[in-house]
């Protein structure tokens, strides 16, 4: 959008919405929407408290282990599926199934199997992230230029070399695309996990704030979460664009 010849930055309208929010909050239209300024004030207040830091730590812990294992397992599995028709045909139906399945329904199972704790949340996170990572890595390998692979063989590359020096790099743009979507899903997974297993991390904070009607506290936490999710997604999109140059011209 351009106004008076000045190009407005992409997300700048959020400032406008923030102002609207502040206004609605100031005229006390609804109890559920306190002024944005008050929320930020509360954020500064609770930002340093032990409960908040603990929740953040626990969430970061579950999120990082969950996504890390999704990548460590998902990428090689996807590459293998792209390379071997047998493995592909054995696994693909399941990958597709779990990709579109409402994984929320599995959380109760994870709860009874792994306990009402961080372990179940880590697994939920990984489950949300892994399928798209597998599928994208597979797609990445499948579109690799055949002559690139033949080149490697003709220069006598060992299978391991071919794997780490050709397949991985040639499929990198797709893999990163999968990882980005996987991360976005993982953020949702880690929060859904904590909501359902509401005694850890932000789940317990939400419970506490909601049952005491602490609106400002509640929104403060929400804004932190939304902002973190957004920053992670944007950072990965940025990384993806960095490798785009060779995705577009191969």
């Amino acid at each position: 959008m351009t106004v008076f010849g000045i190009k407005l930055p992409n997300m700048s309208s959020l400032l406008l919405w923030g102002l609207l929010w502040e206004f609605i909050g100031q005229i006390e239209l609804t109890f559920f929407l306190p002024p944005l300024s008050a929320i930020f004030a509360t954020l500064l207040e609770i930002g340093g408290t032990k409960a908040f830091i603990t929740a953040l730590k626990e969430t970061a812990h579950a999120f990082s282990i969950g996504t890390l294992s999704a990548i460590v397992i998902g990428v090689p599995v996807g590459i293998l599926m792209g390379k071997s028709r047998l493995i592909d045909q054995l696994l693909l139906p399941w990958v597709n199934l779990f990709l579109s399945a409402p994984l929320t329904a599995l959380v109760p199972v994870l709860m009874v199997l792994f306990g009402f704790g961080i372990k179940a949340i880590i697994i939920t996170t990984a489950l949300f992230a892994i399928w798209i990572i597998v599928l994208n890595s597979r797609a990445g390998v499948m579109q690799i230029n055949r002559s690139l692979v033949e080149m490697a063989h003709s220069f006598g590359a060992s299978p391991f070399d071919a794997f780490t020096k050709i397949y991985f790099w040639a499929a990198l743009p797709e893999i990163l695309g999968g990882v980005r979507i996987g991360f976005i899903r993982a953020v949702k997974g880690v929060i859904i996990g904590q909501l359902l297993i509401s005694i850890v991390g932000f789940g317990s904070l939400f419970e506490l704030y909601a049952s005491n009607f602490l609106m400002k506290h509640f929104w403060a936490v929400l804004i932190v979460l939304f902002a973190l999710a957004f920053v992670i997604a944007e950072f990965l999109a940025y990384l993806e664009r960095r490798v785009d140059y060779y995705a577009s011209r191969r």
Binding site: M1, W17, Q89, L90, P108, I191, F213, F230
Partner: protein
């Protein structure tokens, strides 16, 4: 033909392997809360024939259907407007971009406070989950209508209305439809989340109740049923999509 056979055979193999592993793991058992495959199947059958599941799904599908319907109508409308107007795009898109990346599930406690534990809250949950992907896909598809098609419409004297109805919308249709499919998929997540988190009704009730009385086979059966239902339904949507597009214009939607 042979390849098709092989693919089907392998599918069968892979199902046998997974279910076999499940059965064995259940017999060991790896956990007191891990029933065997056959026990779960029996429970599934029991839930199915005594009508429990049928009644439960009537309940579960209510917020889902209402929510997805609202999201589709509103979402496609908003997306169309976003795609057609730069100003509106600038103003509104960021909200949906944030909604799509944000873990909106965290809003549930707030929705419950505001709208209680009834149907309204559940419909809301489905909507906030399903709407962003529908809006953003529609907006993107409309914005990316090939410029030369629009020029063609203008050159052959199409009015603005003609260009929108006869060129922009049909051209965006595949991605709009794919966005709808993703929206339905997200809506399922929302509907189940609502039943597990807000009030246990429908399938959520079967899951919660059988867990509380440690009837694990029924719990697994209920969970399996919702996954199967969602996947089947999405598959049907995909078939319809392929049929409508005659396989020629399939486009990828952005998740």
């Amino acid at each position: 033909m042979l390849a098709r056979h092989r693919a089907n055979l392998l599918k069968l193999c892979s199902a046998l392997i997974v279910f076999g592993a499940w059965e064995i793991a259940g017999r060991i058992p790896v956990s007191f809360a891990f029933p065997t495959f056959l026990e779960s199947c029996a429970a599934f059958w029991a839930l199915l024939i005594d009508g429990t599941m049928f009644v439960a799904y009537l309940e579960t599908l209510k917020p889902l259907v209402i929510g997805v319907f609202i999201s589709a109508v509103l979402g496609i409308g908003l997306g169309l407007w976003i795609g057609l107007s730069r100003a509106f795009d600038w103003l509104v898109s960021p909200i949906f971009v944030v909604m799509q990346t944000a873990p909106l599930a965290a809003l549930i406690p707030l929705l419950v406070m505001a709208y209680g534990i009834g149907l309204t809250s559940k419909v809301f949950v489905v909507c906030i989950m399903a709407m962003p992907v529908i809006v953003l896909n529609t907006g993107g598809a409309v914005r990316n209508t090939p410029a030369s098609l629009i020029e063609m419409g203008k050159a052959f004297l199409g009015s603005r209305r003609d260009v929108i109805l006869k060129i922009i919308l049909p051209s965006a249709f595949p991605i709009i439809f794919a966005g709808l499919r993703l929206g339905v998929s997200a809506g399922f997540i929302g509907a189940i989340l609502a039943e597990l988190k807000i009030t246990p009704t429908g399938v959520g009730d079967i899951i919660t109740y059988s867990r509380s009385i440690a009837d694990y086979p029924s719990m697994y059966a209920a969970i399996a049923s919702i996954i199967i239902l969602a996947v089947l339904f999405l598959n049907v949507l995909e078939r319809i999509e392929n049929h409508l597009l005659r396989g020629s214009r399939k486009s990828l939607a952005a998740d």
